[in-house]
């Protein structure tokens, strides 16, 4: 670790990262590692609280090849490339409206509208949404999909009312 930046042996420094990371349309992110291009995925270490810091670039075997401490430290192309990769790995459904929350079949059924379209999902009745310090609300359904409400107070009043029994925001 030097200068606040975590590096791996043989990894490019912050200065020349722009020549060694690129996003290939329809294919993904690649990194020049030991003079070879390697397909990698960008994973945020703190995806909800600090999404643009400590970005880990991992290969198909989930081995970390590089840690980028902060996107801000890098030139625009690198930031763009990493953000594209992050957007896919970090994608979760954003709830725009809660049209219904019911207890049904001993499960909690959520009927929501997301940025991807309308969706019905279920959680266990004993599983409550998680509320972060920054106010974001997260719900994980039985299949493992994650649903996020970035700003609960920006939801319509009915949605807020439905959410209020389940989470404090």
């Amino acid at each position: 670790m030097s200068d606040g930046k975590l590096e791996r042996e043989g990894m490019p420094s912050r200065e020349d990262l722009s020549r060694q990371v690129e996003f290939v349309e329809g294919r993904g992110l690649r990194l020049k590692h030991n003079d070879h291009w390697v397909w990698v995925t960008a994973k945020a270490s703190f995806p909800w609280t600090h999404p643009e810091e400590f970005i880990s670039l991992v290969n198909e075997e989930a081995e970390e090849l590089l840690m980028v401490e902060s996107l801000e430290d890098h030139v625009l192309e690198v930031r763009k490339a990493l953000k594209r990769s992050l957007a896919e790995a970090g994608f979760c459904f954003e709830i725009l409206k809660i049209t219904g929350v019911e207890e049904r079949l001993d499960l909690r059924e959520w009927q929501v509208e997301t940025q991807s379209g309308p969706r019905v999902f279920h959680t266990k009745v004993s599983h409550w949404p998680t509320v972060l310090d920054n106010g974001q609300v997260f719900v994980r359904d039985l299949h493992g999909d994650i649903y996020r409400i970035i700003d609960p107070e920006s939801l319509d009043s009915k949605s807020q009312e439905r959410l209020s029994a389940l989470a404090d925001f």
């Binding site: 979760c92 359904d141 299949h143």
Partner: protein
């Protein structure tokens, strides 16, 4: 096409997902060409879509929702696949060498189905024979339904189905139900009589006597008959009440007992995988609290609702019969009152949900800190934890205050409304009574207005109105609570064991202990493969050491050998026969296990040693304990073999518990023995004693030993080295040590270095 109505119906009705596959997919399935399929439910711009990926023996294809063929890739062109997992999206990519030939996104909901597709694809790419046991449609719908099946009881239809199923439990006791039901109905009807008799007394005794129409003697005579009738109705009411309570409460207990027996015996039939996916507390609560709640519903709830409905209908008819204008005044607001009670119930439910959440948060605090009290103290966080608890406790108080504010406001308001109706009845009723009296006094006619007796009866009936309204208003909540419990109970009963005996399963009496694994593939979750085609052959009496990094699949091999799970692909043979051809119970009698965490049951040491063979003689028990190096320490205990070891054997040290578990295994005399890290949790001195005991135990048996300390495996006839679910090395200790850059050699060297480091530190 094989139909799976339950899963399909669920996916359609509950998830609102289209279950109508594109025609091309259906055709492929009908023709038997479809091997697997999964939804590609996310577009590249992360919008929901209904595209389908399918696999046949020759192609990988993609269909649009309308059935248009979007992609068709020849299988021979594909060399490998890759999945990148995200939070809510996964990306599947297919490659021809390094060239990307296809990529698409899907959500977690399709993850298991896609896992199946990729598994089959890999089998095809590796030119392995496929052992697909189910149709593609079954595999698909089961995979989407699986988290629901594992999570909760959803495979039994809607709420009304559950209520009917619950009521069906009463069928074996139908005589009791009929008796209880008749008693409840009669009790309700008899309850209506005293008010009528009171009115009769006023109109036919008091009033005629007051006006001089009846003599004192006649009045007393009618009064006597009336009072006897009143007394009889009261006695009858209590008699019917007694029959009802006794019959139904005992009936409830019987049904709850039946359910507990059924659930517990079914639990023992279920596979280990079921218990891995459930919390112990939840299962215990289903057998105990949930069956108890169902007793409450069957014994009282059903009858309460039934009698309340009868009472309400009876009262309404009587009131309308006595005086229809006043009767309408009382009965018309009833639906509004019922609606307001139900609405109040909804509000209360919302508040209770908040309370429950607060309560969970408070109890989480306890379940976090009490088991971890050493850490709390070591980090001096006691005060912080107390503050955290106080905050959450305060939150609970705030929420419960809200609940109490709501119900304490609602019920007085409701009662006030009913009082208004009562006042209204008086307001309109009394002038009509006066009209009646005036008319009667003037003309002797009884046709005008309301008699005083009818009015008195009316007012008494009015007071009886509140209770059934309240019960019916709470009915939804009562049914909801009961069906929730029923779901949890029925979910256990409806779960099929994943490992089942075949119809012609052979009861095995004496095994030799020959074991063969052939291309065994296994995954716990159906997605991540833990074993990737393991093959080996073990002769009877051989001792096999299983070695590999943690998570490599060693314990999984022993779990499969014990038939806690069945492999997804490949086969396991014992003494030349497929493991699933043996009766599970008789096979496991030939199997012994000594685990890292020995489990002792509450009871004496004698009972624990004898657990696998309750008929073992005392001399056999002592011999086994001696062989396990346990006899000496047992005799040091004041009560010897009769010492009660307490729950999970907590009164004994880890090493002592382990030696008792070895004695248990020795007494069982298994032909195949599994030792899973049996010595890893004890000190060196104890390990030595346990190792001596194990050396005696392993003789003459086929042994699979997993050990953290590789030095303990040098005596093994052969060592199998497993890495990432594959068998990477196999041979004796010396043979494996001769492999340069071998995995085993590397592990041994690492451990030797670590030991040297430890010794240096101690010096």
């Amino acid at each position: 096409m094989n139909n799976q109505p339950l899963e399909k119906q669920f996916v359609k009705e509950v998830l609102g997902q289209s279950v109508d596959w594109p025609r091309h997919l259906l055709d492929l399935d009908r023709q038997g060409e479809l091997l697997a399929c999964a939804g590609l439910d996310l577009s590249d711009s992360f919008q929901f879509q209904s595209h389908w990926l399918y696999i046949t023996e020759k192609t990988v294809g993609v269909l649009s929702e309308s059935g248009e063929l979007l992609e068709s890739i020849a299988l021979e062109k594909i060399t490998r696949s890759n999945i990148i997992e995200g939070f809510s999206s996964h990306r599947l990519s297919l490659f021809a060498e390094d060239e990307l030939v296809f990529t698409a996104l899907y959500s977690h909901r399709q993850k298991r189905a896609m896992g199946q597709c990729v598994h089959i694809l890999e089998q095809l790419l590796e030119k392995k024979s496929l052992s697909v046991k189910k149709s593609a449609e079954d595999i698909y719908f089961e995979s989407v339904f699986d988290p629901y099946e594992k999570g909760h009881g959803t495979n039994m239809g809607g709420e009304s189905t559950v209520v009917w199923r619950l009521l069906k439990l009463l069928i074996p006791y139908k005589n009791r139900v009929i008796l209880g039901g008749i008693a409840a109905a009669l009790m309700t009807l008899v309850s209506l009589l005293p008010a009528y008799l009171t009115g009769y007394l006023v109109d036919n005794v008091i009033k005629p006597f007051q006006s001089g129409q009846l003599t004192h003697e006649d009045a007393m005579q009618i009064f006597a008959y009336t009072i006897i009738a009143l007394a009889v109705t009261k006695v009858m009411r209590e008699f019917f009440m007694w029959i009802r309570l006794r019959t139904m409460s005992i009936l409830g207990e019987m049904v709850a007992k039946d359910l507990r027996d059924q659930v517990y015996s079914h639990l023992h039939k279920l596979s280990v995988s079921y218990f891995s996916s459930k919390q112990t507390g939840s299962l215990i609560s289903r057998v105990s609290s949930d069956t108890d709640r169902l007793w409450d519903f069957i014994a009282f709830g059903v009858v309460e609702v039934m009698t309340s409905v009868i009472m309400l209908l009876g009262l309404s008819m009587v009131l309308l019969y006595l005086d229809w204008p006043l009767g309408l005044m009382v009965t018309l607001p009833v639906p509004i009152i019922l609606w307001s009670i139900m609405k109040h119930g909804d509000e209360m439910r919302g508040l209770f949900m908040r309370c429950w959440r607060r309560w969970s948060s408070m109890t989480d605090c306890l379940s976090d800190t009490i088991p971890g009290i050493r850490v709390v103290k070591a980090f001096n966080k006691g005060e912080d934890e107390v503050e955290r608890f106080k905050d959450r406790n305060q939150d609970c108080l705030n929420e419960f205050t809200g609940v109490h504010q709501l119900w304490t406001t609602f019920w007085p308001k409701l009662m006030l409304t009913i009082h208004v109706i009562v006042v209204g009845v008086w307001l309109f009723g009394v002038p009509r009574v006066l009209d009646h009296v005036a008319e009667f006094n003037a003309t002797g006619s009884t046709d005008v207005g309301l008699t005083p007796g009818e009015f008195v009866a009316f007012v008494i009936y009015l007071t009886m109105f509140v209770q059934p309204i309240e019960v019916i208003g709470q009915m939804a909540r009562m049914v909801n609570r009961a069906t929730s419990s029923a779901y949890r109970v029925f979910e256990i009963l409806d779960t099929d064991p994943q490992v089942v005996n075949l119809d012609q399963a052979e009861v095995v009496k004496d095994l030799k202990g020959e074991v063969e694994f052939k291309n065994v593939i296994f995954s716990y979750d159906g997605v991540r493969k833990i074993l990737k085609g393991i093959s080996f052959h073990v002769q009877p009496g051989e001792m096999i050491g299983l070695v590999g990094p943690s998570g490599s699949g060693k314990t999984t091999i022993t779990n499969l050998l014990a038939r806690f799970y069945d492999p997804q692909d490949g086969f396991i043979k014992v003494d030349g026969r497929n493991l699933n051809e043996y009766d599970q119970g008789s096979y496991r009698e030939q199997l012994g296990m000594v685990l890292q965490e020995p489990y002792l049951f509450h009871g004496s040491i004698l009972e624990n040693v004898r657990y696998g063979r309750p008929d073992a003689s005392l001399s056999e028990v002592v011999r086994a304990a001696r062989a396990a190096n346990a006899h000496e320490f047992i005799l040091k205990l004041p009560q010897g073999y009769d010492t009660i070891v307490g729950e999970r054997g907590h009164t004994l040290s880890g090493g002592e518990r382990q030696r008792i578990s070895i004695a248990r295994a020795i007494l069982r005399d298994p032909k195949i023995l599994i030792l899973d890290e049996a010595t890893s949790a004890v000190d060196t001195e104890t390990e030595k004693k346990i190792q001596q005991a194990l050396d005696r135990l392993v003789q003459g048996r086929t042994v699979f030993a997993i050990a953290h300390r590789l030095s303990t495996l040098t005596r093994a006839d052969r060592i199998l080295v497993v890495k990432n679910g594959e068998l990477v090395e196999e041979g004796t200790h010396s043979k494996l040590m001769s492999i340069e850059k071998g995995v085993y050699k590397k592990l041994v060297n690492m451990q030797t270095d670590l030991n040297k480091f430890d010794e240096t530190k101690e010096v």
